[in-house]
Amino acid sequence: MSEIPAGPGFLRLLGQRLRNDPLGLLGLVLVLLVLFCAVFGPSLAPYNPLKLAVLDRFQSPSWTHLFGTDNLGRDVFSRVLAGTRIALGVGGGSIAIALSIGLMLGLVAGYGPRWLDNALLLLFDSVYSFPTVMLGLTVMTLLNPSIGTLVFVIVVIQTPAYSRLIRTATLSIKTSEYILAVRSLGASPPRVLLVHILPNVIGPLFIIASMDIPSVIALEAGLTYLGMGIPPPAPSWGRILQEGFDSIRDAPWIVIAGGIPLIITTLGFTFLGEALRDWLDPRLRRVI
């Protein structure tokens, strides 16, 4: 009956997009590489990252030690691999938590009564206006530094921005016709929020969040460098960088080894995030 065919599926179109966007493809490859290292890294590491071998300290990179060894003789390459798991775990995990909380708060602020919106905005903006590192340092000092505290700090820092984003998107969708239509059917507010508004606002959030992962990892690195991050001997990238700076005269390769994964992760997530933003929504949707 109809002359409008349904069109090729989502995956086919995604594949077409990939071919047109080399940077995005590169980003995807880098992110997959990092994920691979996080999952399989420690099993594939040639050495135990924590094993001391003081006799082998400060060896420059060679075939036995790809990134050389550090001041305590530990294989830097293995430490970097182990650190990937920490980086993504802490970075990814805390962003995921911030995402969930931010989503819920944003939906409520956008859809609920004005007074609630105003109250939540006040809360978001107060937290948001603290300089990030200072806030991090303060909290880390008050509660003892640990992975848990770090995650807490990141969540507190990231949630307000996500909430605001969701709130704005919710506000603009709230008055659109399809939401009115569903309300006129008698749908309850929770249903309207979760089933109809949420799927339409969450897309951009994923993209922004994925681009925040590298900055959160860098935050950890910074805090660790200042002595307030994840305590030793955990081989986080921040720890590697800190030790690297301390021994930069003797073993300059350590700093490079600590910096490279950070660069790769940042580039990867950024390219991928930007490509996703282009791929998703308007163009893929305009199948007709």
Partner: protein, 336 residues
Amino acid sequence: MALPAEAQVADDPVLQVRDLSIGFRTPRGPVAALRHVNLDVPRGSIVGVVGESGSGKSSLALAIMGLMAGNAEILGGDIRFSGIDLRRLPPAGLRDLRGRRMTMVFQDPMTSLNPVRAIGRQMIDIQYREQNLSIAQKRGRSADMLRRVGLPDPEQQLDRYCHQFSGGMRQRIAIAMSLLEEPELLIADEPTTALDVTLEAQIIQLLRDLRQEFNTSILFISHNLGVVAELCDYIVVLYAGEVVESGPVREIFYRPAHPYTQALLACDPARLDLVQRELPTIAGDVPNLMRVPTGCVFRPRCPKAFAPCTNVPPPDVALDDVHHARCHLLTDEQDG
């Protein structure tokens, strides 16, 4: 409507489109949006292009103005404006024509005016080519034009912004802007579709008066048969990217030759004298322009289709020197 090549063209048409074909490149494949379109706008006349969604009428307008989207391309044919071949014109030449000799009014007055500049400013900018006029003189011309389109207190209005005007006013302002340089051709793409019917009536009257005063030719694009009947001298009927019929307005309305034109006229509830609950329709849907049907493009929906319609594209039959239609049914009836 296409004037046959043999006819003595005493007047030079302000716009002459011959065999124009336009395609779009989309992720799903090429779309043949316009195919072999012929169209003439005689100087000083109002030509209506009537079509429904998917007819390609907006693509036609944008192609003439040179404002097509990035994924659109002209696949063939000619567009001549006052004898100038627009396809061979360099971009600078086209820019010179646009806004001065050839202007356009768009459908949505909310979005076709710049929201952050006062309208007076915008109207003065349009006159950038007038080297010999001072700003004050340009302001004066702008105010005159605003008065001419029915805006009260035009000098005050020049300093206001478009969001301070209602939809009807904005469309008048858009028309004023398009006529400032007294163009030879005004292309109006559904200029009244977004307006209430009482405003629509006022705009139609305005366009009629302005055409008299400035002798501007108008290419009026619409899907509203009532409006084109009120305003136009000639009608071109577009269906799914092809011109299926063209001719003087009375011929089209009283002696429609093409089955689509006939069906379209029959479907318009305003033309039904007897009140009827069950309204006439045209069965089926507009064809997918990625897979244009062979033969006649209207065949799948045509109540009068017969054998040749499936495989052979219908010829352009001249019913008299100005009224043309593309239909196999007419070939038997054509006079020798």
